[in-house]
Amino acid sequence: MYLNQFLLLSAALFAIGVYGVLARRNGVLVLMSIELILNAVNINLVSFAAFRDSISGEVFALFVIAVAAAEVGVGLAMILLLYRNRRNIDLTEIDLMKG
């Protein structure tokens, strides 16, 4: 097993995530893509930690997972409220903050 295999996987996951965040119109899918990005980061952290025989990367990944859970909770709540108010979660139509 080489480190670069993990990094490639992580990079691929990250790219998929970025694509999802930028291109999908559905709010829930955007949130899922953000999760993909975070997990790409986690893979990086864990693989470097395993590579360097240090536990701190793994601990950090645990923190990332916890924060991601909280973030998704807030995000889903916002999308739920959007849906209740507009019957629609298309992100391209939400532009009240337009300058």
């Binding site: 965040v21 930028l22 955007v30 992100l91 391209t92 939400i94 903050m97 337009k98």
Partner: protein, 770 residues
Amino acid sequence: MMTELFIFAESASQSGLPLGITSGGAWLLRNAWLIPLIPALSFLGILFFGKRMPRKGAELGIAAVGIAFVLAVLTGLAWLDHRDNYHGEETHLAVVTVEHHGEISHDEHHDDSHDEHAASGHSESGHHAAHSSLAVSNTVTWFQTNGVDISVGVLVDGLSVMMLFVVTLVSLLVHIYSTDYVGGDRRYTHYFAFLSLFSASMLTLVISENTLQLLVAWELVGVCSFALIGHWWEEKPNSDAALKAFLTNRVGDMGLLVGVTILFFAVGSVLPDTFGSFSIAATNTVANNGLLSHTALLVAATCLMAAVMSKSGQFFLHTWLPDAMAGPTPVSALIHAATMVVAGVFMIARLYGVFFEGLSIGGSSINLMALVGGITTLVGASLAFVQRDIKKVLAYSTISQLGYMVLALGVGAWTAAVFHLFTHAFFKACLFLGSGSVAHAVHSFDMKSDMGGMRKAMPHTYRTFIIGSIALAGLPPLAGFWSKDEILAGTGGWGLFGGTGGNGSYTLMLVMGMITAALTAAYMTRCVYLTFFGEFRGHGDVHESGPRIVVPLWILAGLAIVAGLFNLPKGFQLVPDSFQERFGHYVEPVAGYFPTISHATPSWSLAIISTLVVIGGASAAWWYYFVKVEAASKASGKSLTELPNGPTTTYPLAKIIHNILDKKYYLDHLYTGIIAGGTKGPLARMAYRFNQQVIDGTVDRVGETAVKSGQFVYDKIDQLVVDGAVNTSGRLSSEAGGELRKIQSGKVQSYAAILFAAATVLAGILIVIV
């Protein structure tokens, strides 16, 4: 040049300071953690399965506390044997002392100070004298962080064994009483679940081996207190009272947190290989041996005092305790009289090394703790006079008695304070349960409008209440007399007749204690008259409560009679030596983690005079209520509660005093009106006035001058130079804004695109540069 010498203090045989604890001992003592575990399991059991049980979970709670009580009694018996007969290995604590020398040290020098230090560490405290009476300590590591072992465990000595007994006994009786008192309640199961959780938390608190564990248990009992005060939260005053109790306690809990943290690092500074320790035994031992700076101990003790003031209802954070009477009466008896509110007193007793050194209790004549206790005891006793709610009389009485205990600890009378805690738990729980029994019958707590003449209808409640009252007032030979008298003797202020030998001469505290003794006897006489004598003023048919209420009352009343005999004073000529000071012998630690305190000599003259003071207070109240008010009642044909033309209507001074007491020394007004309101109301107005007059005045004058000079500047410089520049920049920013406005689309994904683009660019730069 300053050089640091690290010296390991050594005793003759083993290295380190003797802690006064051992890791051996009987199985029951080492495994005292089973006692809190049982109610904890019962809490979970009741929570999940309680509603499906035939008696809605009450039977599980009672069984658990019953088993805990049996275990506590067995543990107590094991301790009685262990106290005198255990000769095992004593645990020693390796410490590092840092000494500063003015010169570079040599090896001989090193050895010299080594010996000096070993000598100074042990010279006065007599650690080698008694190797029996070692507390049993059994710990496991909870978690490790950065070389610090955070452990949980048990520290079992006389104090914790005594507390285990008191908590489990009162809790068991309250459980039984509650099955009748809150029978049919809509949250019956939850009530018992919280009683179990409370018992578990309180039992954890009293066997805590370290301050962190103590802190956790301390907060847990606070939560249970909150939940049980607000048991009937549908009524606004009840939920307000629960919130008030919780928030007032938070104020003090901050003190506990800070104090514990200070001690953690202070102790860590003298231990090798670690930077902190929560261990209670280690903390006390290093404090006793003078290894910690006095300032650190003073600050820590003061912070911890804040916690005591809130939890144990000391003046001026006591205001939550009377309001806490909104909870069910058995809860008041268990939590707000016998156990939780004494947690503060227990904490002082537990960390006595810290307080004794930090507040310089020995050899002084006044200190923070004694003063707080003294004021509290007076404030509580005086406020108990004007209450018409029977539970509030008892609540203020509890505050007053807690003040007594803190006062006793403040003057160095450790055993007296702990003994008073012991006796007070029984007679005050008896009084509270008695008041609940009366209230259960008349459906009210108001003595003036709904009680009176209850002695005929409720003979058992009446008799037990009288016993409790006499014990509280402190007439011999009931429990309160012995403990109160020991406290008064312990002040060391009775130099007049030879009864001295305390830790200082706290004459002021003796006077405060005496006044309180008289007041206590008087307000209890008033309370007994209003409740049990005169004619019945309430409605309906009143009858005695059932056996589940009466039996606990009689058990507690019995203990209120005999509990005082456990600690007959030393040198008491009427009994053989082997009956004297039994409680002190088994409960007071001897060495190691306990400071060297001196004990007061009891004196006959003080005992007789304090008894006369009590009789004086009781007779004054008796004359007013049983003679004058009774006669006036007969004359008017109504059952009166005060004289129609009593002192408050006749004498203006009495009226003023009554008003002040009625308003509880205006403390609630102070907190909500002045402190809370003051910060937003008057302070804001004052700031506004200051703003208007001082600042505005200055500004106006500056303004006038500025206008004149400004006119000149405006014509010449502003219009030509500045305006030109400003207009240009304005036009520029307007145009730039117009361009940038297109980016501000309001669409979250375009922002994300910019974000990722920027991140990519930054990453690119990073790669190129690094």
